[in-house]
């Protein structure tokens, strides 16, 4: 029974296509009752009061996918009446919908160096908080190392990619970054590296468990729950993301040469084009934002240098009031430097890393489309083979070779089964991809929206701080006589 369940408001009408390569699909969510996003509307989850507490918990960041290392505006710290109204509106929305519809939070924290020298590694604490019945307890922690994450991803990729599921890519391996840490260089850049990685691992896990199918995968559950995990060895040579990229690139090249798929489904053609375009734009945006981060850091350095110079100038100044004003100016600039640094962090952690994640995600999406093409190819191949065999059998009818004829008939039967399976596989992967893409797009919109709001808030906060600093400086300047 095909029920025409009208999709959520945000789903564009053309997602449900009339002419597809498979059987009519009127509802995308019918056979997945566990789809947590069926009812999802334009919800935005800002910091709820619960998370506020966690935010102030020392170095261990809150269990949101992306958390800026410095404080965010909370109703506590914000005195702007407009922003407060905004917050109360959001809290109301959250209350109405029963809060964040996804009731699971994973945090990656407490990076700890284990061992010495080149065999050393970082161990991270992975804490899961959930009330889902899928798990034995409400809250539990395990210790994991980077290669464990890579191992998890490679298992998931091998199980799900080829049937059309968009498996979130694992964070990038970094030989340079890791070596510094191993060698024991405790400087700012290696601390930044560890923090960057910690944040990336957290986002990776959250994305993975937000996927309703992946969440239930035994490997995922084992990863989150079991205290001992068999060491993943196959990750040593290449990271899974790197491997995936390589495979995809090869597949791409092959596809472009040999597979001329008869795409009778406009939806797929349009979506592929869409993702190609998105890929280009996101990469470009990512590059611009990385440049922004770099320049903002530069500004911070320059501001600090200027502050020092202004202080020295103030010392050298023999007019008392002007000297004091110049020293004050130096202090203001020093504070502004700190603002720039915080802003750079926000630029980076909120904006830049998100874009990087999505560039990698899009690669995974494109891979999934490629798998569909391969599945189609397989189906076509078996159809062709069946055709040939039928022709051969027809010819054999006129010869007197009963054994060969029977063999041919058997082969044909087998092939017919294969063709049917091929067709089913193709329909299935097409169906899965449609669902996956729709889910992906919704998540993307949600992700970006949330991050952008956080980012804009960080900009607002910077402005408000600037006002405070210059307001304090003004009387000093006026006092010069």
């Amino acid at each position: 029974l095909l029920t025409d369940k009208s999709g959520p408001a945000s789903l564009p009408a053309e997602d449900i296509s009339a002419n597809s390569n498979g059987p009519k699909q009127d509802s995308l969510f019918d056979d997945d009752p566990e789809d947590l996003f069926a009812e999802a509307t334009e919800e935005v989850s800002l910091d709820s009061p619960e998370r506020e507490v966690l935010l102030s918990d020392g170095p261990s960041p809150a269990i949101t996918p992306i958390t800026p290392p410095t404080s965010v505006i909370t109703p506590k710290t914000c005195s702007d009446p407009f922003l407060l109204t905004l917050y109360s509106c959001f809290l109301k929305i959250e209350e109405e919908e029963g809060g964040d519809s996804f009731d699971m939070h994973i945090s990656v924290s407490d990076p700890e160096k284990v061992g010495d020298g080149m065999n050393a590694y970082m161990a991270y604490k992975v804490t899961t908080k959930t009330s889902m019945s899928l798990f034995k307890t409400d809250e539990f922690s395990v210790k994991r190392r980077f290669s464990d994450f890579l191992g998890l991803h490679s298992k998931l990729a091998s199980k799900y990619l080829h049937i059309g599921y968009i498996v979130p890519p694992a964070p990038e391996k970094s030989i340079v970054g890791m070596t510094k840490v191993k060698v024991g260089k405790e400087d700012q850049s290696s601390n930044e590296f560890v923090e960057k990685r910690r944040s990336a691992l957290e986002r990776y896990l959250m994305r993975t468990v937000k996927h309703p199918i992946l969440l239930k995968d035994p490997d995922v559950l084992q990863f989150l729950e079991s205290s001992e995990l068999p060491r993943a060895v196959s990750t040593q040579a290449l990271s899974s993301a790197g491997l995936l990229r390589m495979v995809n690139k090869a597949a791409d090249a092959v596809n472009k040469m040999t597979i001329k798929m008869n795409e009778s489904d406009a939806w797929f053609e349009e979506k592929q084009q869409h993702f190609e375009n998105l890929d280009v734009q996101l990469r470009k945006l990512h590059a611009s934002v990385e440049s922004l981060v770099c320049h903002r850091k530069e500004l911070s350095v320059n501001t600090a240098q200027f502050a020092k110079s202004a202080a020295m100038l103030g010392n050298s100044e023999d007019h008392t009031a002007l000297s004091r004003a110049l020293s004050q100016l130096a202090e203001v600039e020093e504070k502004i430097d700190q603002l720039h640094q915080d802003q750079a962090n926000a630029d980076f952690y909120l904006f830049s890393e998100l874009l990087g994640d999505y560039v990698r995600l899009i690669t995974a999406v494109k891979g999934v489309f490629d798998h569909r093409m391969k599945t189609w190819q397989k189906w076509q191949d078996s159809q062709l083979l069946l055709q040939k065999k039928r022709e051969a059998e027809a010819k054999l009818q006129f010869t007197n070779k009963p054994d060969k004829l029977q063999q041919a008939k058997d082969e044909i039967k087998e092939l017919e089964g294969k063709v049917q399976q091929g067709e089913r596989d193709f329909e299935q992967i097409s169906k899965t991809i449609r669902k996956e893409v729709s889910r992906f797009e919704k998540e993307r919109v949600k992700d970006f929206k949330m991050i952008i709001i956080k980012y804009l808030e960080s900009l607002v906060q910077t402005q408000q701080q600037l006002i405070k600093y210059w307001d304090a400086f003004l009387p000093e300047a006026k006092a010069i006589s």
Partner: protein, 384 residues
Amino acid sequence: MRSVSVDLNHDASLLIDIPDALCERDKVKFTVHTKTTLSSFQKPEFSVPRQHEDFIWLHDTLVETEDYAGLIIPPAPPKPDFESPREKMHKLGEGEATMTKDEYTKMKQELEAEYLAVFKKTVQVHEVFLQRLSSHPTLSKDRNFQIFLEYDQDLSVRRKNAKEMFGGFFKNMVKSADEVLISGIKEVDDFFEQEKTFLLDYYSKIKDSTAKAEKMTRAHKNIADDYIHVSATLNSLSADDSTANKNRYLSSSVSLQKVEGRVASDQELKLTELLRYYMRDIQAAKDLLYRRARALADYENSNKALDKARLKSKDIPQAEEHQQHCLQKFDKLSESGKKELTSFKGRRVVAFRKNLIEMAELEIKHAKVSSTLQPTCVRLFVYS
């Protein structure tokens, strides 16, 4: 920029301004406009075209005039420098293919604004130079100054003659020797001793601050440019996205930030300009000290020569006359130098005060504007 020095150009007897200028390739042609009630000028109001080199000529002749040795000669305006925007324009042309039309247009606009800003700055800096002269009781009466303002022919002929006469000798000397000479001379006057110590130290500090402020300004500009690229890419993302509205608001907020970035850099420009101007002014004050130190050295030498002459009983009257002459010169320099340096300090403090206040007020104003506009964008963004 006018506020960098205190309000000049309020003495109606001699009013000078540069109402417009033309930029032809590398050369900037300034229109110097004078309004005067003084009878020493042929007409009450007139305009002449002048090039940057004409200003330099005027400055150098003033520096090399003995009579003005005891005055702080206003620093020469720096050469118009379009190097930075020109280089950027060139890079922009090369990178045109990789940008969207929208992005390219915005970058071009940004560049044009920068070009215009450099242009405005150079006009003002040249204007202030003339106004400093016109408001100085002694320098405003200088003959060459009058020629500069009035002479309606091309000055370059006169300039060449001047160069042959002085050969820029004095200027070169000053540049290489002043530090050594100033610090070497034994100072008898407390006032000058303090000034010397102060100015030498202050000069190196303000030079450093100017350089650091310039770096800050450059970094701000880079960020503003980055925001152009970011908002342009966001715009093209929204072109084929169902989240079109959202990205529109985001990009408008981001372009707010871009404007904010440019404005912030304008603020810093104010600070940078203040520091740069006074760095040059302090150099001019140091030059005065140098000239006085040289006069003192001359005087001391003339004393020695007199003693020698007395010993040898030869050429005593000449030596005495020479010594008197040196003493007079030195005294005159000291007296006028003291006046100049005192008024300079006052002028400097007032200018710093004005500029720092203006800068702080502008920073506050702009931060207030964007901190109210951005939440509006957030709201539009969220509810779209």
